[in-house]
Symmetry: C2
Subunit: 250 residues, 2 copies
């Protein structure tokens, strides 16, 4: 598959990731809307220079502290995340002893089953959000995402949601959860509503998050101060600075 993209291509890394997502679409994990959402992510990633910024590193550190010290952390998984980094999700869940729950915006049983299989193939033992007997609802949400698992998000204190829609983040916050998110648009409602927003490409950032969780655990570090609004303002000015630099070169 990846033979088509020469390593020398200036945008090879981004094209590999794109290929992975198309593959996940062909395998019934990703929705059409998920392909468009990925495109939006590509554009914002481009504008942060396609690297993990200082503000993102800061948010990752805060996220690691929150996950490690959580009583009942849950990682919410959708089609795009399962298509892009299933192995890393399993690794992160193991590192911080978190549950994994499938939760879809454009929900269908078939897509859920495809995501379930992919996660299992990548080493996940227990996956929540697939057994109807355990489903309950979160209030203040109309989309399919209101369905949550009694043993998962419903009882979680900290939830990691990635590539998320704004309504759900708001509903999770109202339900008293601490929300961590990967979102490349620092202005989105999700980014602005979450407790900790990592403005980074999740494929890149999740590796750093796993490493940081392990470090925090080993060193038994204390919690850190983190101001999400301030950190987001920093993310926005990083984009502005990138545009300024690029405009000078162009």
């Amino acid at each position: 598959m990846t033979n088509l993209i020469p390593k020398s291509h200036p945008r090879a890394q981004s094209l590999y990731v794109r290929e992975r997502l198309v593959h996940a679409f062909d395998n019934g994990l990703v929705a059409k809307e998920g392909l468009m959402a990925h495109g939006r992510g590509e554009a914002f990633d481009y504008l942060i220079g396609e690297k993990t910024s200082k503000s993102a590193k800061n948010a990752i550190k805060a996220a690691a502290f929150a996950l490690v010290s959580a009583k009942y952390p849950v990682i919410s998984v959708n089609g795009n995340i399962a298509g892009l980094c299933p192995k890393e999700i399993v690794k992160l869940a193991k590192a911080v002893n978190a549950k994994i729950e499938i939760n879809l915006f454009y929900s269908s049983n078939k897509r859920k089953q495809n995501i379930l299989r992919t996660m299992q193939k990548n080493g996940a033992k227990e996956i929540l959000g697939v057994d109807k007997k355990n489903s309950t609802r979160i209030s203040g949400l109309d989309s399919a995402r209101r369905i949550i698992d009694k043993n998962g998000i419903y009882v979680a204190d900290v939830v990691l949601v990635s590539l998320e829609d704004g309504d759900r983040t708001i509903a999770l916050k109202k339900a008293g959860k601490k929300v961590i998110t990967f979102d490349l648009n620092p202005l989105s409602r999700t980014a602005q509503t979450a407790d900790i927003t990592i403005v980074d490409n999740v494929v890149r950032g999740i590796k750093e998050l796993i490493d940081t969780c392990v470090k925090v655990q080993k060193k038994k570090l204390q919690s850190m101060k983190f101001d999400n609004k301030k950190n987001l303002a920093k993310s926005i000015s990083e984009i502005r600075n990138y545009l300024e630099r690029r405009a000078k070169i162009a």
Copy 2:
């Protein structure tokens, strides 16, 4: 179809356009990569505040002059354009007496035929780029887009390409064409290479372009001075200013 999106939704306009593209995908006009490309466009449109900026208006004016005074203008059409604004393409072609040519990056005969039918349904009489007998090649291009029509882009002096890839814009420039483009990313190779870059959502901008062409013709206006690099720099600072304003509100 559009019943699902309430008019009151803060992002209704963008969601309607997205729906139109998904519809075009379901009808075999748009490629999977086209869905992702649309997402990238959405992100950049968001960053210019989803309105036609001053710099875009300036570029539209320059484009109208170039199209009206062209000897042999050709409008290049791909799946996304045909899915988003087929009627407007036909209207623009009539207004400036331009040819319409189908030219695809991810080419397939089936997709070409679907696009052809859509364009015809929307009033196009003559469509180039579909008869193999008339096909020739443009040098310096490896993708399927190198195939052009002897009676179209091959002999054109001015070519309007929208939602374009950088390689092709460079090849068209080398072949001596004046290139006009709609591209929402002012930093893209296409944007930086074209003679006139309209940094705007094509669905919005094409209407203004048609109106401006008609005005220029009626008033028999002379040509105008236009510096694409300067205008692009303006587009970039418009994005920077938008980010600054939004960061203050957030």
